[in-house]
């Protein structure tokens, strides 16, 4: 899939705490930023030390007027990558490339009520949720867990909302959630975002209290289906050896080498890009091959699948 890139100018960069910095971006060409919805994230393309980092950050507001994007970045301890760069190097006026907003954590529009549980920087998607719920008039309740020293920062981000809806917990265990999870009316959806142990514990508690799975939602940037370990694809008919990088799909790499390969949907569904495998073991990521075909390792769908072996020989 060809990535659509937008260029963003840093309109404001404000430090909220020693480890939290908020950025406001405007379109570098002076136009509008792309539209986005609650729960969407933005991937910033950062060139650091000769490598492209694609760091995903939740958009903390999705304004109707499309004048800007906002994100909050936590500086990861001992970061050699994006968060340290964003905290220490990026200045107002700088231009950064990004992908279009994508949404892997959307709100459920049929919900009658929304219950959110966040930890630390995991609050960010819920800032855009709350704006949408307020605009639509849907009832909501938030429980936020954070360190004592950051409590004031998060309370400031949530200022203006009634105490009946916002509950900030610092230093405590998540046991306090049992009461909130236990008293929600039917039709409530539950969302959690934050450190994995918090999300897992909150989900387990909800399941133990009898919440149906379809009402439980945990944040994940996904992205596992894109990229992976590099490998070499050998095209048997031409003898070409093609290096498939960690950020490139097999199909893209074949095309970049000037070889015409069959394809259509580029998403692992249509079956057009099926190629026979002569040697090597594919890592199947498609929706086309059935279990038997997968187990045989005789075929690969080049648009999404990769190789588990350093070398894979294709009948192409």
């Amino acid at each position: 899939m060809t990535a659509v890139t937008v260029r963003l100018r840093v309109a404001a960069a404000v430090r909220l705490s020693p480890s939290l910095r908020t950025f406001t971006f405007e379109a570098a060409d002076g136009g509008l930023v792309p539209p986005s919805g609650p729960g969407a994230h933005l991937r910033l393309f950062l060139h650091l030390g000769g490598r492209l980092h694609r760091n995903a950050y939740s958009l903390v507001a999705s304004p109707d007027d499309r004048s800007h994007f906002s994100i909050i970045v936590r500086r990861v301890a001992a970061s050699k990558g994006g968060s340290a760069f964003l905290h220490e190097q990026v200045r107002e006026g700088d231009v950064i490339a990004a992908g279009l907003p994508a949404n892997l954590f959307p709100v459920v529009r049929t919900a009658h009520r929304h219950l959110m549980v966040s930890g630390g920087i995991g609050l960010t998607p819920f800032l855009s949720y709350i704006a949408a719920f307020e605009a639509a008039g849907t009832p909501w309740e938030l429980h936020h867990f954070c360190r004592v020293d950051e409590r004031a920062v998060f309370e400031a981000l949530l200022a203006g909302h009634p105490a009946a809806r916002v509950h900030v917990h610092s230093g405590g265990a998540i046991g306090v959630l049992a009461e909130a999870l236990g008293r929600q009316p039917l039709g409530t959806h539950f969302y959690t975002c934050g450190p994995a142990p918090l999300m897992d514990a909150a989900m387990e508690l909800a399941v133990a209290l009898g919440w149906p799975k379809a009402r439980l939602h945990a944040e994940s940037f996904g992205g596992a289906a894109e990229g992976g370990a590099p490998f070499v694809a050998v095209l048997r008919r031409s003898g070409l050896e093609i290096a498939v990088g960690p950020e490139t799909s097999l199909l893209d790499a074949i095309e970049a080498a000037g070889v015409e390969a069959p394809c259509l949907c580029r998403g692992g569904a249509c079956g057009q890009c099926l190629i026979e495998v002569a040697e090597g073991v594919p890592e199947h990521r498609d929706h086309f091959l059935d279990d038997e075909d997968r187990a045989s390792n005789r075929f690969i769908m080049t648009c999404v699948s990769r190789s588990t072996t350093p070398r894979i020989v294709l009948d192409l």
């Binding site: 007027d65 279009l100 949404n103 459920v108 639509a136 949907c265 569904a269």
Partner: protein, 355 residues
């Protein structure tokens, strides 16, 4: 490019609809091979490719004004053709934004969108519409946002909400449909509304298509072609109006088959909507008489072969059974049996006169 609209043509009663030669040559002919079978024939909806109808996100052609007028007539008689469930309001605004931006960018001579923050001004010159409104405030538009903008577009549209790893058809504007009912389907899941389709379920087509669509990304729309046949250039072949058009199938004769039988092609497009995370499904209908199609040498031959050899279950499902033989007989005269190149391009830039 300035489009010469044909505002007075009709899709009912006297059926004055017709295609110019240019419109025939840009018809999205759906058969790249001599045989037809269901498949997940989805591809990225990007400009270029086999047909100029793909050049813009939403294709506008010479029938634009007449089709919008036909839609208004259908809605006047049956308002249930436009239905959007209440939780889809964000998707309504998404649709309005996408259509206005796309049309204004693709056809600046016909449409203009001016924006200052949420203060928007929309001008649709072919339909004589000019409105100023506040984006996000439905009270400032004369109609709900989805109905407002889809009354100004060719083709049907449905809105799919995504939840529980499924798609639900939770809204739509459906007045140019090939025998399915929005009023009946609204609220259904992906497999439920595709329930009547033969053969494809067993081939796993819908399982794969659903998985693919659940991962559809904003900014990366996809498209596919679907087809059926319609007697007379009638857009509204709805179950609700079956008594009006069903009997048309009995009126086909060896003498009128070329003019009466139309290939009906749907250019179906799917867009992830960024604010609501819903999917907009566009079903843009193109009609062309088989007489006109046969003026394109490779299309006449190929259509003959596809109709001649089609699986009987598909012929039944598409409602072709009663007149298929007459159409095959008519088309046989254009087909010398020579091998045809794969693909759908017309391979000629002008048309011979009608026979």
């Amino acid at each position: 490019m300035s489009i010469q609209f044909k505002p007075e043509e009709t899709f009912r009663d006297d059926f004055t609809y017709s295609n110019s030669d240019a419109a025939v040559l840009r018809f999205p002919f759906p058969f790249p091979e001599d045989a037809y079978m269901y498949s997940v024939n989805i591809e990225p909806h990007v400009p270029g490719g086999a047909c100029p109808a793909y050049d813009n996100p939403f294709d506008v052609d010479e029938h634009y004004v007449a089709e919008c007028r036909e839609r208004a007539k259908v809605l006047e008689q049956d308002p249930s053709r436009c239905k959007v469930l209440p939780h889809m309001l964000a998707a309504e605004w998404d649709t309005l934004e996408l259509l206005m931006e796309s049309l204004a960018t693709s056809y600046p001579g016909a449409f203009t969108l001016a924006r200052a923050g949420t203060d928007w001004t929309w001008e649709n010159r072919p339909l004589g519409i000019a409105d100023r409104f506040t984006f996000g405030d439905a009270a400032t538009l004369p109609l709900p946002p989805f109905e407002y903008i889809t009354r100004q577009a060719q083709g049907d549209f449905t809105l799919q909400d995504q939840r529980e790893d499924n798609l639900f058809i939770d809204g739509g504007m459906v007045t140019t449909q090939a025998d399915w009912s929005l009023d009946f389907d609204v609220g259904m899941t992906f497999h439920q509304w595709h329930g009547p389709v033969p053969l494809a379920h067993q081939k796993g087509v819908f399982d794969r298509a659903l998985k693919y669509l659940l991962r559809l990304q904003y900014g990366h729309p996809v498209r596919r072609l679907n087809w059926t046949m319609t007697i007379n250039p009638r857009l509204d072949t709805s179950p609700e109006n079956y008594p009006h058009w069903g009997p048309d199938r009995t009126t086909v004769t060896a003498e009128n088959v070329g003019r009466k039988v139309h290939l009906r092609v749907e250019l179906q497009s799917l867009f992830r909507l960024p604010r609501s995370n819903a999917i907009l499904f566009g079903i843009r209908c193109y009609l062309c008489s088989i007489e006109d199609l046969a003026r394109v040498d490779v299309w006449g031959k190929r259509l003959h072969r596809v109709l001649r050899d089609i699986h009987p279950d598909i012929a039944d499902y598409k409602g072709l059974t009663r007149y298929r033989e007459l159409a095959v007989e008519y088309l046989a005269r254009f087909d010398d049996g020579a091998p045809l190149p794969a693909g759908t391009a017309p391979r000629q830039s002008t048309l011979p006169p009608k026979r």
